[in-house]
Amino acid sequence: MSENLLEIRNLSKNFGSVAALNNISLDIKTNEMFALLGPSGCGKTTLLRIIAGFEYPDSGQVFMNQSDLLSIPTRTRPVNLMFQSYALFPHMDVFSNISYGLTNTSLSKEEISNQTFEIIEKIGLQDHVKKKPNQLSGGQQQRVALARAIARKPKILLLDEPLSALDKKIRQEMQIELKRIQHEFGITFIIVTHDQDEAISLANRIAVFDKGEIKQISTPQELYENPTNEFVANFIGDGNLLKATSTTTGFKHPALGEITVSHNYESGKQISLLIRPENISIVKVLDGSGEIVDSVFAGYRKNINIKLKNNEIVRVYADKSASLEIGDQVNLSFRPQDIRVF
């Protein structure tokens, strides 16, 4: 338990009649890259702002190294936030922006200057020290925001949608950069994002949020392979959720027929089956269980949509050279162990 840096216990917060957070509990470990993932309005930003000190919960507690975090004023919390809008000070140059947090400490001018230049060098902003934020590109502005937020050497760095404003190429560059900096400075990162790719590629562990509640906390791989509920199954990765009825030996699907699995289920219940597109193979036949309605070239593969007899759409990945055309009749096959049931 001692490796838990942050322990969040039964946190609730309402805005009027809306519950932004509903009895959230969560542990974050030292040096972890942790992501709070969920659609907009799910409460993840509220949790971030509570940890930063801009909101106060209605009930619940937050402990950092076993001591109460909520009683520490915002100004002196060993937590810093990298804002989604970066919130750089427009009237200050890069050096003054980055050193701002250090000027609020008891450090001497010389120490502030030394430490600031050290960070500027590590983050690669040497050529921009005297520039104002509006003279920098989006990627450079983000580096300044990052440098400013870690200058006070916080125990936790909170990142609000860190990559959302960048174009694809710089995003990939910053992903690598964020991991490098996290490693180099040894700071625990908590990332808030609505973008599953961002969460999966950056985080060691992810908490999936929906409507103020945590749906699952796990590693990216676990979330993808073993989602514990329908929301996570739907939210993480491309997934096919098919409505079926349970039988004593497995399930019965209106278009795919009987599927036999080794488990025993109570028969006659309405259930959802999750099957990932990459786990389905298709064969062209004269009269199959579905018809190809869409085929999109995606570089190394084809994304194919199949309309089943009962009008459900199933997504399948096929080899880019597969000779499959829109209108083709196909049969689907998959291994029972690749099915998840909700």
Partner: protein
């Protein structure tokens, strides 16, 4: 099509002449050598020289500048505080309108109201009451200008300052006020020029021993428009123009920061 454009251009020229002719007349006649301003007796700076030795005019001029400077400082402090407060409490339309209303209340109404207030609290009329009165309506102008700007500042910038360990006071002076600078300059110029040439409110709320420049000009006009009045008009015009131009220059610099 061409004709129509020409017609509107002609109208525009006439409108501009109509707007600037009176001002041109004041400036032109201020260089008249004649003691009767309506008879041109040649170009000269005579009246510009004599005006410096006119004690009532010069002392009222000083009073006017004194009132304008103090009004500007007070209006800026009060107006900025109100604007920041309204913005922080996310005040709705009613409070916002209420704070800027004195700018559109007729001067006469405001003057009567202020006079009534001062006599109710038995405050004797002096330059102090003029400064208070001018601050009332100039504050409204400052609020109007600053409130428009403050809404454009990303609230995350102030949060970032707090997050980085700055006190509320440091955030105000190092982050918020520099962001507001262009609107503060605009508000200052507005307050200064509005106060400088304000007549109605000063006429009602001033004591008899300390007339301001517009009041002195008004009393002089009863004996006809003298060239001295034209000189004073020209000087007020120059001060206003210089103020506006300076404000634009500084505003541009502040905006580019």
């Amino acid at each position: 099509m061409h004709r129509r454009i020409n017609l509107s251009a002609i109208v525009a020229v006439f409108v501009i002449i109509f707007l600037y002719l009176p001002i041109t007349a004041v400036v032109g006649l201020s260089f008249n050598k004649s003691s009767n301003s309506l008879i041109w007796k040649g170009f000269g700076l005579d009246w510009y020289k004599t005006i410096w030795s006119n004690e009532p005019i010069m002392s009222s001029f000083q009073r006017t500048i004194f009132v304008a400077v103090l009004t500007t400082v007070l209006s800026l402090i009060i107006g900025t505080t109100i604007s920041i407060g309204l913005n922080k409490m996310k005040a709705g339309g009613f409070l916002r309108t209420f704070s800027t209303a004195p700018a559109i209340v007729p001067d006469l109404v405001l003057a009567i109201g202020l006079l009534t207030t001062f006599s109710t609290i038995s405050m004797s009329l002096s330059l102090t009451t003029v400064i208070i009165s001018h601050t009332v309506f100039c504050t409204a102008f400052v609020v109007a200008v600053v409130l428009a700007r403050i809404g454009l500042i990303d609230p995350a910038i102030e949060e970032a300052s707090t997050d980085l360990g700055a006190s509320a006071v440091k955030t105000l002076f190092k982050i918020t006020i520099p962001q507001l600078m262009p609107s503060l300059i605009a508000g200052a110029v507005l307050s200064f020029t509005l106060s400088m040439d304000e007549f109605v409110i000063a006429f009602f709320t001033n004591g008899p021993e300390t007339p301001t420049l517009p009041m002195v000009i008004y009393s002089m006009i009863r004996f006809g428009v003298t060239p001295e009045i034209n000189v004073l008009g020209t000087l007020l015009l120059v001060i206003s123009f210089v103020g506006v131009i300076l404000a634009q220059r500084i505003g541009k610099v502040a905006d580019s920061i």
